[in-house]
């Protein structure tokens, strides 16, 4: 098996690095996945005024805190990218783990929120609003988990001063995860 990078990977006709270009296309393909869920949700929502009564039971405060947590973690990964550009691996490592901490905080708050809702009978089967609520937020949470795992793997490389450019790549992905939440929060929590 070839361990050396092929010439293909090192060429850059567009002027953009291969990794960055690929991450952009990954994000492009993800936009349409969330787009499909959210477009379906919005079409239903427009036809069913009654969903606002269901939405009244969501925990807006928890959602707002989570928005703040995710946005802050996005700032951390930007600082991490900046540190990686300056070859400050220690600082980059620290900021990556602060971002991961943000992801974990987000998930812990989410877990409290959901267990509270489920114990009050608002399960995924309660009504179609809750089906969408858990499906859309669940798919998003899966992205948060995957992002955190990838950041953990990248942090190990960063500590060995390897593949520093990957901090920027995961940063792009993390901003995307963040932006999806910025759509989910008003649609699922605030619209009442």
């Amino acid at each position: 098996m070839s361990t050396a990078q092929p010439v293909a990977t090192r060429r850059s006709v567009t002027g953009m690095s291969t990794g960055k270009l690929a991450v952009m296309w990954v994000i492009g393909s993800e936009i349409v996945i969330f787009g499909g869920i959210l477009a379906s949700y919005i079409m239903f929502r427009l036809q069913h005024d009654s969903w606002s009564h269901e939405a009244a039971h969501t925990n807006t405060v928890a959602g707002a805190v989570n928005t703040f947590v995710l946005l802050t973690s996005s700032l951390f990964i930007v600082l991490g990218h900046n540190a990686a550009e300056n070859k400050d691996t220690k600082k980059a490592f620290k900021y990556i783990w602060l971002t991961i901490l943000g992801a974990l905080t987000f998930l812990v708050i989410k877990a409290f929120e959901w267990s509270g809702e489920i114990s009050h009978g608002f399960t995924i089967k309660k009504s179609l609003f809750w089906s969408f609520y858990y499906t859309a937020a669940g798919v998003h949470a899966a992205h948060v988990i995957v992002g955190a795992i990838i950041m953990g793997i990248i942090s190990l490389d960063v500590r060995k001063n390897k593949n520093l450019h990957r901090v920027e790549l995961i940063g792009l992905y993390w901003h995307f995860v963040d932006i999806v939440w910025i759509f989910l929060f008003p649609l699922l929590y605030i619209a009442k």
Binding site: T18, V32, A39, K125
Partner: protein
């Protein structure tokens, strides 16, 4: 070029497993996709054989298969469609040709992400295994049609395949993952790794078609992935996204499915069109008529293909005003496709045509696809579709589009690039037997089916003897004739398979450029070694400079300096 020379091309021997199952070489991955696709295609063909035999001779034991029960009939029809689209047309047209041709034609050593490429094939193989496994679970394989409309697909009480339905969905989802991984790799390689000097309009048309197809796939499959998650929840937790009793809407699935499903037609059509462009220019020894016209037409077709999907739903209770809009867009999209066909015909004008097997298949593609396109207009117009919907007229129509794409187009490509892939020529005489046998049989299958459909044969019917208006001697004769032609078409694949496998060892040695073609893949050895080129080429001119006046040779390779 300085950095390219640093590349090390030494070839080291690998073990059997590493070479055939764990390779990161784009050519090996292309062959993996090709052979898996061919195997699945034969399986899909065999399913079609069993279900057509049941139609011609209802209730009789099918030779080599056995008795086709009603449940089995549904499972065979469903999986015939699913396999032919997702496990035959896509892997062969996009993954096999894309993987093989992209790095070679842009003059580079491999894909930008070789290991992701390997992962893409492994996920694809897993998806095929999951699909095949669904035939061996309690209840059997899913039988709710390849479109998987709920409530039939969502509720095991209706489809009676509690395991099969979910496994089918998982297999399709895995296949999408494989093609997203592959597609991102294709597009990134195409954008970033072209040979020095290769400008936008120096790129061979087949690469444009594969790349535009990959982008279309990527942009359209997302909503269906979302829909698949929702359908899986409906199946496993009985949520009711698509269940009106629980506030859901079954038509939502149809929108999500066809928003993907119609662009998907162009995802497979465009690469076939690209293959035909390469074959026609080489065997007509002429420049492609209107390269830029074809390019812009393709972009236009791609954009338009996103706004035609509801023509599949004219009788699903959608608003008739919306049906009008979709009729207009559907009829509009026939313009760019017709234009592309005319451009190819214009390329043939005053050309010195060589009727090699590849060229015959390419020309047959144009003729047969034309019939598919023209009959599509009756289905795109909402008024006539109400009558034709869900009849064999529809079945005949889309087979007249998909068979030219996935069989005739693929064969044009295989006969053309075989010398590059395996270093030897295929036998032309056997090739011509294969060609005429396949094309004549194909027409004999589906022309009668246009008639049976117009006469009232609905799709997905187990036994037409059960309905007075379809239980006539004439219709029954037509069905039997179609079935016999179908068996004949399958049998005519034997000369092809023989030719394909025997020529690998016994064919005439091909040399680097047997067809005297211009594009970069013919600069490399046949078959190209690991790393493809001894010295990575540079590009000086567009790909179709054939019969340029004042030159001794009638071709002018892209990498030749002057």
């Amino acid at each position: 070029m300085t950095i390219d020379h640093a590349h090390d091309t030494h070839h080291h021997e690998e073990g059997f497993f590493k070479k055939y199952f764990w390779s990161t070489d784009h050519k090996m991955i292309a062959k993996q996709y090709l052979f898996t696709g061919m195997f699945m295609g034969l399986m899909g063909g065999f399913f079609a054989y069993a279900l057509r035999m049941q139609q011609a001779f209802p209730g009789k034991t099918v030779p080599l298969y056995g008795v086709v029960t009603p449940t089995l009939y549904n499972a065979l029809a469903t999986n015939h469609g699913t396999i032919m689209i997702f496990w035959f047309a896509m892997p062969v047209l996009i993954a096999a040709f894309g993987n093989y041709l992209i790095p070679l034609m842009i003059g580079v050593d491999d894909m930008v992400f070789p290991r992701i490429n390997r992962l893409s094939y492994q996920v694809f193989l897993l998806s095929a295994i999951v699909l095949i496994a669904s035939f061996f679970v309690p209840g059997g394989a899913f039988g709710g049609a390849w479109t998987a409309y709920p409530p039939l697909s969502a509720n095991a009480n209706y489809n009676l395949t509690p395991w099969g339905a979910s496994l089918w969905l998982v297999a399709v989802a895995l296949e999408f993952v494989a093609f997203l991984l592959g597609g991102i790799n294709f597009i990134t390689t195409f954008m970033n790794s072209r040979a020095p000097g290769m400008k936008m309009f120096d790129i061979p048309m087949v690469l444009w078609t594969i790349i535009i197809a990959s982008i279309l796939f990527m942009a359209s499959v997302g909503p269906l992935i979302a829909g698949a998650i929702m359908l899986l929840f409906d199946q496993t937790m009985s949520i009711g996204f698509f269940d009106p009793a629980k506030g859901g809407d079954p038509v939502l699935w149809q929108h999500l499915f066809w928003f993907f499903g119609h662009p998907e037609v162009y995802v497979v059509l465009l690469p076939a069109m690209g293959i035909v462009a390469e074959v026609i220019t080489v065997f007509a020894r002429k420049k492609l008529f209107g390269y830029k016209t074809v390019f812009y037409t393709m972009v236009g077709t791609g954009a338009l293909s996103f706004v035609v999907w509801a023509h599949h739903q004219f009788i699903a209770g959608i608003d008739p005003r919306m049906a009008n809009l979709f009729t207009i867009t559907t009829v509009l999209i026939s313009i760019p496709i017709a234009e592309m066909c005319f451009v190819y015909i214009a390329t043939l004008y005053k050309a010195s045509i060589e009727f090699s097997t590849a060229m015959l298949f390419a020309l047959a593609f144009l003729a047969e696809f034309f019939i598919g396109g023209v009959t599509g207009i009756f289905l795109g117009a909402s008024g006539s579709d109400i009558y034709f919907h869900d009849t064999y007229f529809v079945v005949a129509h889309f087979h007249y589009t998909f068979v030219p794409i996935a069989i005739i187009g693929v064969m044009a490509g295989l006969y053309f690039w075989y010398p590059k892939m395996f270093g030897r020529m295929m036998d032309e005489k056997l090739g011509k037997i294969h060609f005429w046998g396949t094309v004549i049989s194909f027409n004999c299958i589906f022309i009668p089916l246009f008639y049976t459909g117009a006469a009232g044969d609905q799709r997905r019917i187990y036994n037409y003897q059960n309905f007075p208006h379809t239980n006539t001697e004439f219709l029954s004769d037509l069905r039997t004739f179609a079935t016999i032609s179908m068996v004949s078409m399958l049998l005519f694949q034997i000369p092809f398979l023989y030719n394909f496998f025997v020529s690998m060892k016994k064919g005439k040695v091909a040399g680097k450029n047997p067809w005297k073609s211009n594009t970069l893949e013919w600069v490399a050895d046949s078959p190209p070694p690991h790393g493809n080129f001894k010295e990575l080429p540079e590009v000086y001119r567009p790909p179709y400079e054939y019969s340029v006046p004042g030159r001794a040779q009638d071709y002018w390779p892209q990498n030749e300096k002057a």
